[in-house]
Every structure is written in C-alpha cells, then in structure tokens.
Symmetry: C2
Subunit: 403 residues, 2 copies
C-alpha cells in the first residue's frame, strides 16, 4: 500500500515545542487549543489571506510578526472573523493571557483562529484551558497538534523532511488544516512549519513566500478564499551557529526541504477536500506566461461541471475543453491546444484527438489520482494546480456545517 501524503509521523524539531488542550470551544470531546513555542532567538516568517474581510487574529498576527514572535496561539472551532472591534479585543486578550502565563510580552505572540465565521471568541474557555496547553508543551507534540487544529478535516496533515548542512542534519516539519473554503491566496487555511535551521527573518520571509506560491497557492477545493488563511515558518536556529545565506548550495538544499514539506501538506489538504473522492493534478504547459498557465489551471480546477464529471468517473472531455476556452487566453489558437487525461490524448486540433476512445478515457477516470495535462502552444511557461472532485458529500457537509 502506498503511503498517503501528509500522514507520516512527523519528526521533532529541536527548539520547537507544541502543547494542545481541550477548551470546549465548539465540541467538548476534542483538543481545540494549541500553543507552539520557539526558543529565544528563533526567527519567524508568515503569509496571510488577501481576503479584505480578514479575521481579527490575522490583523494582530500581521502586526506582531514584526516583533520577533516566539509563540503561536491557535484555536479551532471559531474563526473570530466578521467580529469587528470586539474580535480584535478578544484576540489581543488571549495573547495577553498567554504572555502572562509564559512570561513574555503580548507582542511576541501570533494568534490564529479557524472555524465558524461571525461568532465571538469564547475567551473564558481559552483562558481556562491555556495552562493545560502550556503544561503539555513537548518537542514530540506535532501529531496531537495536527489533530487540535482540524475542523471539517477527516485526518491530520503532517510532513517532515531532513537535509544535511555543514555536516549537521536539519529538520523541517509542518502541519496544516483545511478541507473547505479552500482557494488560498497567499497561504492556506492554517499551516505551521518549523525548522531548527538558523536563518535571518528577512531571508525566511522570502523563502516562505516562494514556498507558499508553489504549494498552497496552487490548490483549490471550492474556489472560496478564506478569511483566516495563514502559513507560518519558524526557524529555531538551535542546529547551527552559522545562518543560511540565499544563493548558497546549503540554502538551496534547505529551500528544497521547505518546498517539499509545503507541497506535501498542500496535497494532503486537497486529498482531504470536503467530500473528495479523487485527487486531480492539472498541469498547464506552453503558456505565454506563468499567470496565464495558472489561470487556465484554476479555471479547470474550479469548474463544477469538470468536478462532477470526475466524481462520476465520466471522461467528459468536452467540459475540460469548455473550461480552457473560457479561461481568458486572448486570441487562443485552439488548433494548437492539446489535452491529455493521464497518458491518453483526448483533445487535439480543436476537437477530439484522432484515435481517442471512450474506453481509454474511462480507464484513466477510474483511478483516484488523475493527471490533466494541457498544452496551449503559446509559449514556454507552465503551472501546476491541484484540486479534487465534487460529490454529494460536498453539498451535505456544507449544508450541514452550522446546523
């Protein structure tokens, strides 16, 4: 059996401890509060949602990011979004509570929330559970942490990589959550990645922006960009005395490990997309530029007609062709466009490819991990986008989510 991406037990990261607790924010029987602590001197990078109605904790976390944060305070079950000034006061209050208990300043804490939009944060419940979360702080706390941040997720999402730098083993470990309201723009619902590498905050921010652009920003479950998307990369620096410098081979090896962790977490989110039964990889090639390639990929990925055809395992290639045609490529020469389903070419020369048979298409459609490849014949740029199919369960989950 092949291992499901994002399911392997994560490696501890020296200098990073995690502690979860059950605060009873939405349900009584599960962890929903998480503290992540980094050693003094750690660096931190973060990227956040571009949704104009971004949540109160996103506004606070953005401000505090400038002040060398050492703690992340995360809750599930309540998004603290659409909550106005009260939401900001609540997020700040929880930061202050953690600061009082942990002995730092409130500015050293980044708050994150995920869950229902529009309800006030139950600050008292968080206050009551915070001491337990701090008492649980442990370098081995990653898997329990991955479970504490889940909402409609059906499984925790975790990934680790190691690389060798100056004879030392450097670890990169991350966790993520998210199954619906997923078309990240800057970052995903919530992803927390940590490393023991030493790297300056500015360089870490550049690296995180690149990593999220190639991973979380290339996935979509339902085209809905959340109010609470955030991705944080913590570097404890305990592994090495010498900071990593961009442009060096060591930095490249480290960057590759970060890219792989983010990529694996992004894929795990799509695989666990609400109601998903299939993973769909969309690869757009020969585009005029990367923006065009990504736009074509996203148009296919967000088409309800394409997604329901994949749910039905129906090689309804006309729906893919129609999505490419409406993706806004100016003066697209459709005679140069080809579309493949797995290794089977389905469209060429403006219509059905010569020799294509429904049987060949149906064989690919029966898989649970399917590649759609589109060559536009316009240039050399390419982009990959991941999505999932659209099933009865997507409707069920989202018609029932609050009730």
């Amino acid at each position: 059996m092949t291992r499901l991406p994002g399911s392997e037990a994560p490696l501890p990261v020296p200098g990073i401890r995690l502690g979860a607790a059950a605060a009873g924010i939405k349900r009584r029987d599960r962890d929903d509060l998480l503290v992540i602590e980094a050693v003094p001197g750690a660096t931190c990078a973060g990227v956040f949602t571009r949704n104009a109605f971004c949540a109160a904790p996103v506004l606070i976390a953005r401000q505090h990011l400038a002040v060398s944060p050492r703690w992340l305070l995360i809750n599930s079950g309540n998004a603290n979004a659409g909550t106005g000034d009260q939401g900001l006061a609540d997020a700040l209050a929880t930061c202050q509570m953690l600061a009082d208990l942990a002995g730092g300043s409130a500015e050293a804490i980044l708050p994150f929330s995920t869950g229902v939009i529009g309800e006030f944060l139950p600050v008292d419940k968080i206050a009551a559970a915070l001491p337990q979360a701090l008492a649980a702080l442990d370098e081995a706390g990653w898997e329990r942490a991955a479970r504490a941040i889940m909402t409609t997720d059906t499984r925790p999402k975790m990934a680790s990589r190691t690389c060798q730098i100056d004879g030392e083993t450097i670890t990169v470990t991350g966790i993520a959550k998210g199954a619906g309201m997923i078309e990240p723009n800057m970052a995903t619902m919530l992803a927390f990645v940590a490393t023991d590498a030493r790297i300056g905050a500015a360089d870490l921010q550049v690296l995180l922006a690149q990593a999220t652009d190639l991973s979380f920003n290339r996935i979509t479950v339902d085209g809905d960009t959340s109010t609470n998307d955030a991705c944080v990369l913590l570097a404890s620096g305990v592994a090495s005395a010498k900071p990593l410098t961009p442009g060096t081979e060591a930095h490249d090896r480290f960057a590759a490990a970060v890219f792989e962790v983010c990529g694996e977490l992004a894929e795990a989110i799509v695989r666990d997309g609400e109601g998903a039964t299939k993973l769909i990889r969309i690869q757009v090639e020969q585009a005029a530029n990367v923006e065009e390639a990504r736009r074509v990929g996203k148009t296919i990925a967000n088409s309800p007609l394409v997604k329901t055809a994949f749910f039905a395992s129906d090689p309804n290639w006309g729906r893919i062709l129609a999505a490419v045609g409406r993706a806004g490529c100016a003066d697209l020469d459709i005679s140069r466009v080809s579309i493949w389903l797995g290794e089977v070419r389905i469209v060429a020369g403006g219509g059905r490819a010569d020799g294509y048979t429904e049987a060949a298409g149906a064989e690919v459609m029966a898989r649970d991990d399917i590649l759609i490849r589109v060559t536009l014949g316009r240039g050399a740029a390419e982009a990959k986008v991941l999505t999932c199919d659209f099933s009865y369960d997507y409707v069920r989950i989202n018609a029932e989510y609050r009730t």
Copy 2:
C-alpha cells in the same frame, strides 16, 4: 398563486413562423429540431459566446449574420462543439439542406446546436426530419419550439411583451433554454427573440447587445460559460412601414419591451438551474464602477459555500462576507460595507450588524426568492446578478448527464 416568470403562453409575432420535429438526435420520444422562419426583408441581430472553443454552428452563424439571414436552424441533443473541421462541414451541410428545401441560399441560414460536447452531428437524422419541421411552420409554434430546444431544462422558457408605436401594437416574443454550463458571456445558452417591429440591422444589433448585457450576462448557475451560447433577435418588420430610430420615444418603448422579454427569460433560466430550489437576487450598490459591482455580485453568486448555505436555508452570512472580501476590490474599507438578507441587515461595520438575530435571518432564508443586497460605500455604481442554490441534485444531474 403567482405566475412563474417565463411560463406564460407566448404571443405570436406577425411575420415569424416556427416549426419543430422529432429527429431522434439523442432521444426518440421528443422534438429536437426547430426551424424559425422570418419574412423576406426581416432584420436580424445576434450575440455569441466568447468561449475560445466555441462550437462549429457558432462560427457559421457569426459569418452568416452579415448576409441578412431569414432562417434559424436549431437542434438539441448534440452541441456540435469540439468537433473540428468535420463539425464545420456538418453545420454547413445542414444549412444547405434547409436552403434546398426552403428555396434560399445556405448563407441565409443561422445554425444553432445544444447538447453533449464532442460528438459529431447526426446529419442524416436532421436531413430526414427537416421536411416535417418545415411542414409544421406556424406563427402559433412558439410553445412547441420552446420545448424542442430543451436539454436538462425541466420546463420551457417563454416571454412576451407588447408596446404601442404610432397607434400600432408591436409584439416582442422570445424563448430560451439552459439549465447548466450557465455563466453567459455575451449571450446565454440559446435564446431566440422576435418582433414584428421594423428596425435596421445595425440598430437591432446595438439594442440586442444592451439587452443581453443587462439580462443573460448577469446570470450564473455554475460559472461555466458554454461553448454554444447564442442569442438572436429577429425583426420581421411587418407591423410598420417606418423603421424605429434610436433616440426616439418609440424606440425607447420598444427597447423596454425587448429588455423585459430578455430579463424574464434570463430569470426563467436561473429558476430552472440544474438542481435549483431557490432564486437568489444579488444587488450590489455604491461600487466604484459597474464592473466592480458586477464582479462582487458574480463572486457571491458563484461561491459553492454561499450556494450550499442557501440550499440548507442556513443564514450563514460569514460566507457572503468572505465572498465580498475576496472579490478583488482594491483597498476595500470593510467598515463601510453593509450586507442585507432581504430587509434584514446582517453585516455592518466589519462584522455582524447590531440587533441582527439568527431568527430574523432564518425567516428570510425560508423563502424561495431571496434578495442579497450589498452596499460597498465606494461610489454610485450598481449591478444585479441572478443565481440559484447548489443542491444534491446539481451533483446528481451532472454526474449522470452522459451516462
């Protein structure tokens, strides 16, 4: 009981005859072929899909529009899209067949197809049924015609208006089809509107472009712009010796009748959207410009999370707020945004409106015709968008459509 828009028996239009027949294109037991004939000297306007992979008949119809067409030849059950050069040859062949039978030139015929993408047109079946369609030509043929062009539609869509011009009664009657792959860009799946007014072809084209922009281009069922969208306006001119001139009061009265017929047909398409249980009217006001207002409206209208919440009658206003936030309004001041559900204000000042109660929201949500009103506080532009909810049946219909 209130009358369902688009359901009333349509008024005949002097100078326009319609004839339907059963060609057995996809199913044996129903009409699927339609000929619409205008008297000599009639004028014609048309708008077509902007999908780059537009269907063969769309390419032919666009060319023939320049040559004073007198006949429309329409089939359902097969879109003749994604069919390459063979598709073009097939569409031209059916035009030639009708020309031979009716005694005109092939260039005087506009072909239209709707149905499955990617299968070749059964030209022989159309040839065999064409004489029956011609024999059936009748000014009273509108309702039978509206049924002949249906695919996944559950009911025919028809509308009529009259206006008085120079003491004469002028009629405008139209039919439309479409239930899925609906986010028209220039025109809807298929809509045919006719009048006995006399109006020049160039003026008719300007009027049709305005009418579709305010009706069919403001609706969405699933965000998928079809390969076959087309809207045609025929003016037989038999009612009056004097052509209508833009800028006159008579033209304005006539334009109002055309706008109302197109608007009623567009609403009928959304009401019959695949799996739809509710009509959702989205009105965006105080936008910086019309394009921004329309973009915000379309973002709300295409959000699967908003649409499933309406299916569940759940006043989940956070999802509407999140959609407004990701609609790409630069520097949106969320403190100036308000959102209403019917007459109930749900969002103000960046969060839940003072005094809003779930009970008040739930009362509005229980209706089957619901207004979402958004005021952006940025300017004076506004736009209306119509959509429907997203139900289990949308997934069922589209998972079963070909199989």
